[in-house]
Symmetry: C2
Subunit: 315 residues, 2 copies
């Protein structure tokens, strides 16, 4: 199958492309290296089944030309701004990189008659629903970040495009995703801080923020598995893992793996890390578990594996 | 109060501006005359409390300059593509005129510290939920039109902007709105068709499509009334009327008002008028009724009054 991976040079995208190629697919990657990196895909450049376009997805005409040239059968849309703290200061990043990318890909699918898509959505669409188990049909979605808003708007676009053009779309609402090639986020930040000063660690909030973390290789395997299931219209799953990990527990795991004792934690205080952050959430995973799928790592295990991988990559 | 009315030269906007001015407000109108018309506001051009900018809201920089110049206290956002059949063929109309207008207005509010907004949303955000009473917290919103998708995406943006910038936003999800200055839709179409041939009438679908119609003067009075209520964050209401009117009933009312007998109805068949149309819906109005508000006309009365007004305006 010839698969377009939008945002394919990113952390998740590059791991997914590795798996697509391993399974014998052809991959067309589009990325503008806004967050993705050349390093993430440098091992693929000589693979005959891989073609790379350095292209901003906000340019509809240019993207349409790629669709005209390549015979795309499946669109995997991972292109988005994934750095919520950055867009809090400049929401246009989300309007362009998270929402407009979705619109343009759907519009190209309409114009070039491509019928299948995978879309990476997020727990951020729910907003601050900290005291309930989140199901796929939880009502009253009130995103608190521009990122969550543009992902929810993207889901709405997908609903209409699917209805109007008979698209078959698989949506996963991701939890926090971590693992090899991670570029930002709490694990990355803590390691960098401790490398420069291993006597103390500044922790945003009060450290009780608690979220489920999925290991990226579990995630990409789930995408490939579910992409091969025949469905109609839009199929939505909360994708998650067992357990959840507090920010303080992440700090503990990192200190342990770095062999550091007696690091002083300096909490900035408050129950959120920054404005627009959702301090904790937990998915009801009944729907995806009913298919038989399970992640191989729980949240704490995913954190521990990721810390090892990140430390190893920085040696 | 100095109120910006975005889309103020349109059917609803111009009726609302009349009421704002009558109540002693200053009005800044922005419209690009894409659907709105100069005729709708020509009676206002010499009013010292009215200023008009012919401007596309998709140009963020230009709109920001208007915010910098005028001391806006309240933003009323009615700018959108309201012709769903038109955008079915060209979804970019919705991306620009319905979604980007919202993003740019919210971004200007953030940049220029304006805290209050009214937003015109729509029953189209629900999608095809034909067999349930729609409440403000109905789950699983799956819009079937690009219009509904971009309105739902706009609501999501408002949620995030409100949280991040402490905005106070009132949202009404409108039903079908009709009355003076109507520019398109079933009433308008039927009258035009019967004026050119009064022996027969083509009716899209099977005529059983059934929706609540609100009279525009009831709607604008509701907006003014609720704008003056102190609230926090985002407040959402389904705005509706008693009853609903089938397409065949609309044809009957028009024929009666035009004094036509024995008009042959030619149904195109099927239970929808066009792809992306929602054939029927009904609101649960408990939330707005709990405030004491009621529309003065029910749906059939709104249709009858509108037919009279439209016929009169075409004499």
């Amino acid at each position: 199958m010839k698969i377009l991976v939008a945002g394919g040079a990113g952390f998740i995208g590059s791991n997914l492309i590795d798996l697509f190629l391993e399974k014998g697919n052809e991959v067309v990657c589009i990325d503008n290296y806004f967050i993705g990196t050349k390093k993430n895909i440098e091992h693929l450049v000589n693979d005959p089944n891989f073609v790379m376009y350095e292209q901003n997805l906000c340019d509809l005409e240019a993207v349409s030309q790629i669709f005209a040239k390549e015979n795309i059968e499946y669109v995997v849309h991972l292109a988005a701004n994934s750095d919520i703290q950055a867009s809090a200061k400049n929401p246009i990043i989300e309007y362009q990189n998270t929402y407009t990318t979705t619109f343009n890909l759907l519009e190209c699918m309409r114009l070039h008659d491509v019928k299948k898509m995978f879309f990476a959505s997020t727990s951020a669409v729910y907003g601050e629903k900290t005291d309930e188990l989140l199901t796929e049909t939880t009502a009253d979605l009130c995103p608190v970040s521009y990122y969550g808003a543009c992902k929810l708007g993207s889901e709405a676009l997908i609903s209409a495009y699917s209805h109007m053009n008979d698209l078959e779309v698989l949506i996963f609402r991701f939890p926090n995703v971590i693992g090899p090639r991670l570029t930002h986020g709490v694990i990355f930040d803590f390691i960098k801080k401790l490398e420069s000063d291993d006597s103390q660690l500044e922790i945003l909030g009060d450290g009780t923020q608690c979220k489920p973390y999925i290991y990226v290789l579990d995630l990409v395997e789930a995408i490939v598995r579910f992409m091969n299931t025949e469905t109609k219209g839009v199929t939505l799953y909360n994708l998650g893992v067992e357990g959840a990990t507090t920010v303080t527990r992440i700090a503990d795991i990192i200190c342990e793996k770095m062999g550091l004792c007696n690091v002083k934690y300096n909490y900035t205080g408050g129950n959120i890390g920054w404005k627009g952050d959702v301090p904790r959430f937990q998915y009801d995973l009944s729907k995806i578990y009913a298919t038989g799928w399970r992640a191989s790592c729980n949240s704490d295990e995913a954190v521990a594996k990721t810390v090892e991988v990140v430390l190893h990559s920085r040696e």
